[in-house]
């Protein structure tokens, strides 16, 4: 049966799994729960594959994206937001990444969470997240996309706060949620503006409108309608994808279980922002200003986060900051118009960052919950599989040939280099960020796997993780090796299959020129050199497992993440809390609202107190009241008749 | 003179009829008391009144005089209006109820105004009758309440309760007859009973025997007669609601009671015993001479009986009356036309007097109910039975209609 016609099955399966596990799972043994979860996810992955196959044929026939409305969701006046699903090349990539990586992470979780409480709850949340994420990528209009958008936000909140008994965990969940709200605010405004401009939220309608009106590209420095829309959408993207200035929630999100960090905060959800930007590339390409802002923000984030990542001691936090910085790369790509490269990096990053997180989880699992790298060391010999997998991931992210990271990052940097507006600067910063990336990643490797152990070997018995954790690691390692080869030929003048595959979606965007191969080869060489530099520096500094350095100067600043949280605390949260407490609570709530309520209550009391005298129990008074009522009714009914009589009587 | 009469006949004739009727009824009441005393006396093996006039015939007159000339004391702080209203109301209603009763079949002309034997011929006469009897309660109740005396109050309460209770049974017991006749007017009911001229066989008494029993018992209760005379149970309440009444007001209650006895007897006669119809088949003409056959011997006996008295009265009055009666009897034979006119009233009166005799007979025979017995009898026996009678009759009529 053509899965395309029944596209809703793909998101529905995880939803079913979630519902079953959530409603019934509490009584079931872990095995059944995990089978339900895996089954639903795996099936949906299979369906996604089938859908891609069918779409290939479909595209050959029609040369356009497949869109199918299933039912009306909101219909008001000329506004219609239906449950319409769309399938095109971009969706294909995203859907495969989400379901595939999600499936692997599910397998991994069955091992990782085996001894945790709330097993069924975890998988229910995880499946629910899958559902919303698929809705997000399959949606054919902004409204439905926003549903998925908020849904994944909710799931991320639930999963970050999975250990809700821990204060820090629930705080982190709240933080993530609230910071995302800020972005969502912008996103909604963007949607409203889109509807106001195009009288529709359907992707196809909007993009056709742009083509039909053949709107002019708004030049640099101007703030036209398109610019406004794009900036607002990008605001949402910064929230969801943890870009400056709203990245602060992501590191704290590491309070959640590691698979969650891998799936949500590395592979899928955080890339939603990139997806949105790429999806609405036709909008972005019509405004140079917004593109520039995106590029700058992306670039800045890439560098900034990398610097913070240098000195983190928590293994997961290092990865978190590296995630932020990698997302920065993606936005940089989109900003400079290389959407294909951005999505490409999104995919590869999904592979190797998931791999890294899972490996980190494996490490933590191996030495019993320790997350501080200063409490590790010398694990390479003890947990070989994990070590080799993590090394693969590290090499990939650092950008060594022939691993995936190299190709994607190289494409991005190349595109940045060719960008006409201060492209060289962006390239330079990006390159430096690449050095930093390679540095902190190898620092992680060294501190974790080499040098002498810094943990109590008598109490901690390091052991390799079970198969259902290591197998996904290996698969992901393989992916992060070969994942980049799709675009490999472009390097020596061949075809960039990935870019060509996505070309129909980014038709509006220029496909990065494959002309100057010499230049590209030079640049890639530089990139590799940067990675090597990072590697060497890290090796020199940490091969002997230096002590935790004394906090001073820039070191201290970096270690404390530029005091950004403190800064927000002082500038935003503090005043906000003060305002809430002193104005909104003490004045508005206690004074106005409660005042109103109490006033109404006391007023009612007073009225009743006066009116109750009519309730004298004296039948004669009641009789008179009845009489009054009767007269009123009579007058109303017979007014047409009485009017002339009374008036006549008066006259 | 004549044309004046013809012109206002519609006014004069009814007035005349009313006057005659009232006169007759009052005398009848008076002599009913005499008959009652006599009958009961004989039941109890006594002589009864026999001092005033022959056989005490003038006793009623004497009583009447006594009533008129007796002092009329007014009890302390009574409610005057009600106290005076009560007896008048009672008597008035009792007399009014006679107005709708037809005494004979004939229609005849006086001063060119066609009329009939009986005051008013309403086509819902039965309903009117019941309406009037329904109002009769007030007389008793008011009297009991107004005279400001425990005995009276209790009597009034009792009798009003009793009347309300038995009124239902009375009304329902008649419904059977109504179903058969399909008519509210008493005249219609009687004529319906004439049937195919088979005389007594087509009277309502046979299909409605249950109805009749219920009706008769309820009627006795309605008229506060023995054995239902609790309101005036001497042993408990002195004289019930009219304890405090004396002289003419008391007489009014008295007359009203006997009048209602007559009314009820008339009603029973009409509803169940074919009113003025002769019990014999129409084909038998010789039965028309029955009245004279009865009258002549009676007159002769009266003449003979008068001989025994030494005084003027006995010598003149009784023979006179006797000859008059005998003459009437003879006249009936001589003039068949008059005889025909007499037939209806004759049979009517005959039946009525039979009922009155039964009344008196029962008084002489039966003991008095207890109050609770009275109530439970009325509600738990009489009412259900009469309802059952109604249902039975209805079903029977339905089946009968199907058959024929």
């Amino acid at each position: 049966m053509p899965i395309l016609e029944y596209l809703w099955i793909i998101p529905l399966l995880p939803l079913l799994g979630s519902a079953i596990n959530g409603l019934l799972g509490s009584k079931w043994p872990n095995k059944i729960v995990s089978w339900v979860a895996l089954g639903s996810t795996g099936l949906s992955f299979a369906c996604a594959l089938e859908a891609v196959r069918e779409f290939h044929g479909y595209y050959e026939a029609h040369h356009q994206a497949f869109v199918k409305p299933f039912f009306d969701w909101i219909v008001a006046g000329n506004f219609r937001a239906g449950f319409d699903l769309q399938f095109d090349q971009l969706t294909a990539v995203m859907a495969l990444v989400v379901t595939g990586v999600g499936f692997l992470i599910h397998i991994y979780s069955t091992g990782y969470m085996a001894h945790e409480g709330g097993y069924y709850r975890f998988f229910s949340y995880l499946n629910l997240f899958m559902f919303f994420m698929l809705i997000l990528v399959l949606a054919a209009n902004f409204a439905l996309l926003f549903v998925g958008w908020e849904g994944v936000g909710l799931c991320s909140y639930l999963l970050i706060g999975f250990y809700f008994l821990r204060q820090s965990a629930s705080d982190a969940g709240k933080k993530a949620f609230i910071v995302n709200r800020i972005g969502d605010f912008g996103f909604m405004l963007g949607m409203f503006l889109i509807f106001r401009t195009f009288q529709s939220l359907d992707f196809r309608t909007v993009f056709d409108e742009i083509a039909k009106r053949n709107m002019a590209v708004e030049p640099m420095g101007t703030l036209g309608i398109m610019t406004a829309i794009c900036l607002l959408l990008f605001m949402g993207a910064t929230g969801k994808s943890a870009q400056i200035p709203l990245y602060v929630w992501l590191p704290d999100a590491m309070e959640g279980p590691t698979p969650v960090s891998a799936l949500i905060h590395a592979a899928t959800m955080v890339t939603a922002g990139v997806y949105v930007v790429a999806r609405s590339n036709l909008l972005f390409t019509h405004t140079l200003t917004a593109m520039y802002v995106v590029a700058i923000i992306g670039c800045a984030t890439a560098f900034f986060a990398a610097t913070i990542g240098l000195l983190q001691s928590d293994i997961k936090r290092v990865l978190a900051y590296s995630t932020v910085s990698q997302l920065g790369y993606m936005f940089l790509a989109c900003g400079v118009g290389a959407f294909g490269a951005g999505i490409f990096h999104l995919m590869t990053h999904a592979f190797f960052k998931a791999l890294l997180f899972l490996s980190a989880g494996s490490v933590i699992h191996a030495i019993g919950g320790e997350q501080d790298m200063w409490g590790m060391g010398g694990l390479a010999s003890k947990i070989k599989v994990t070590f080799w997998c993590m090394l693969a991931g590290t090499i990939a992210i650092a950008g060594f040939i022939p691993f995936a990271g190299f190709f994607s990052k190289d494409a991005i940097l190349f595109a940045a280099f060719n960008y006409e507006y201060s492209g060289k600067v962006l390239y330079g910063v990006g390159l430096f960020a690449a050095i930093l990336t390679s540095f902190y990643m190898f620092r992680l490797i060294w501190l974790t796997f080499f040098t002498q152990p810094r943990y109590d070997e008598h109490h901690v018995h390091v052991h390799e993780s079970p198969k259902n954790m290591t197998v996904p690691l290996m698969i992901l390692a393989l992916l992060s090796l070969v994942g980049g080869w799709l675009a490999a030929p472009a390097l020596w003048g061949g075809r960039n299959y990935f870019a060509e595959f996505l070309a129909p979606v980014f038709g509006g965007a220029k496909v990065e020129g494959a002309e100057a191969h010499s230049l590209e080869l030079i640049l890639s060489g530089v990139a590799v050199a940067a990675a090597v530099v990072g590697l060497i520096v890290a090796w020199r500094m940490y091969r002997k497992g230096a002590k935790r350095g004394e906090m001073a100067g820039a070191y201290k600043v970096l270690y404390n993440k530029y005091y950004v949280d403190e800064f927000y605390q002082a500038t935003v949260i503090g005043p906000l809390v003060w305002l809430s407490r002193n104005l909104f609570w003490k004045v508005v709530d206690a004074g106005v609202i409660d005042g109103t309520v109490n006033g109404i209550a006391s007023g009612a009391t007073a009225v009743g107190d006066t009116v109750r005298h009519t309730q004298s129990g004296n039948t004669r008074s009641y009789a008179v009241w009845i009489l009054v009522g009767a007269i009123v009714i009579f007058a109303i009914i017979f007014w047409p008749i009485l009017h002339p009589v009374l008036v006549g009587g008066v006259r | 003179m004549n044309e004046f009469l013809t012109e206002y006949a519609f006014l004069i004739v009814p007035i005349l009829k009313i006057a005659i009727l009232v006169l007759l009824v009052l005398t009848m009441d008076a002599y009913l008391t005499w008959i009652e005393r006599k009958v009961i006396a004989h039941i109890q093996a006594r002589w009864g009144p026999h001092r005033v006039g022959p056989h005490g015939l003038l006793q009623p007159l004497a009583d009447g005089l006594k009533f008129i000339f007796k002092e009329d004391p007014l009890p302390a702080n009574v409610d005057k209006l009600a106290y005076f209203l009560a007896p008048f109301l009672t008597l008035m209603l009792a007399l009014t109820s006679l107005a709708v009763i037809p005494f004979g079949p004939q229609r005849f002309k006086i001063f060119g105004y066609e009329t009939h034997v009986g005051i008013a011929d309403v086509n819902i006469s039965l309903l009117v009758l019941f309406a009037i009897t329904a109002l009769g309660v007030y007389g008793v109740a008011l009297a009991g309440w107004a005279s400001n005396s425990k005995y009276s109050l209790l009597g009034g309460l009792r009798s009003s309760a009793q009347m309300i209770s038995y009124e239902l049974a009375l009304t329902l017991s008649v419904v059977g007859v109504l179903l058969i006749a399909g008519d509210f007017s008493l005249r219609g009911i009687v004529e319906h009973q004439s049937g195919t001229g088979r005389g007594i066989l087509s009277w309502n008494i046979f299909p409605q025997i249950i109805g009749f029993v219920c009706f008769f018992i309820a009627a006795i209760a309605e008229t506060n007669r023995v054995p239902f005379d609790l309101p005036e149970a001497e042993s408990e309440l002195v004289a019930g609601f009219h304890t405090e009444y004396a002289s003419m007001k008391f007489a009014m209650f008295f007359i009203a009671e006997y009048t209602s006895m007559i009314t009820v007897s008339c009603l029973a006669t009409i509803l169940f015993f074919g009113g003025w119809l002769s019990p014999f088949p129409v084909s038998w003409t010789f039965t028309h001479y029955l009245p004279s056959v009865l009258l002549i011997p009676f007159g002769l006996w009266v003449i003979f009986d008068g001989m025994r008295y030494e005084n003027l009265l006995g010598r003149i009055l009784l023979p006179g009356v006797g000859t008059a009666l005998a003459a009437i009897g003879a006249a009936l034979i001589v003039f068949p036309m008059i005889n025909d006119i007499v037939q209806g009233p004759f049979w009517f009166l005959a039946k009525v007097f039979t009922f009155l005799f039964v009344y008196i007979w029962m008084r002489g025979t039966l003991p008095r109910f207890r109050y609770d017995q009275l109530m439970s009898f009325g509600w738990k026996f009489l009412l259900p039975v009469s309802i059952a009678n109604v249902v039975l009759t209805a079903v029977a009529i339905l089946i009968w209609g199907r058959l024929s």
Partner: protein, 100 residues
């Protein structure tokens, strides 16, 4: 012939008098009587209408009204007896506790 309006106006007058009675009498029983008076006035109007329209429906309604009045009287008088027993007074103005 008597114009129907005569009957209707009479019934209106009786109804008004009933209202006055209901408002101005203090004795519960008299209050009830006033209600009965109003009902009678309505009955009169019913019969007048049914006669002038030549349809017996109005009279059927009258029958129903009478039945309802009977039921009302039965229950109402029961209540009155109870009240009089408990309150030792028939004056509605003295029976104002909204409970027996």
């Amino acid at each position: 012939m008597v114009p129907t309006n005569h009957y209707l106006l009479l019934s209106a007058i009786l109804f008004g008098l009933g209202i006055v009675g209901f408002v101005f009498k203090r004795n519960i029983i008299t209050l009830f009587m006033s209600i009965e008076l109003m009902l009678n006035a309505v009955n009169l109007a019913f019969v007048a209408f049914s006669q002038s329209l030549g349809k017996p429906d109005g009279e059927v309604f009258v029958l129903f009204v009478i039945v309802v009045a009977a039921a009302e009287a039965a229950v109402g008088l029961g209540i009155i007896i109870l009240t009089a027993r408990n309150r030792r007074s028939l004056n509605v103005e003295r029976v104002d506790l909204l409970k027996l």
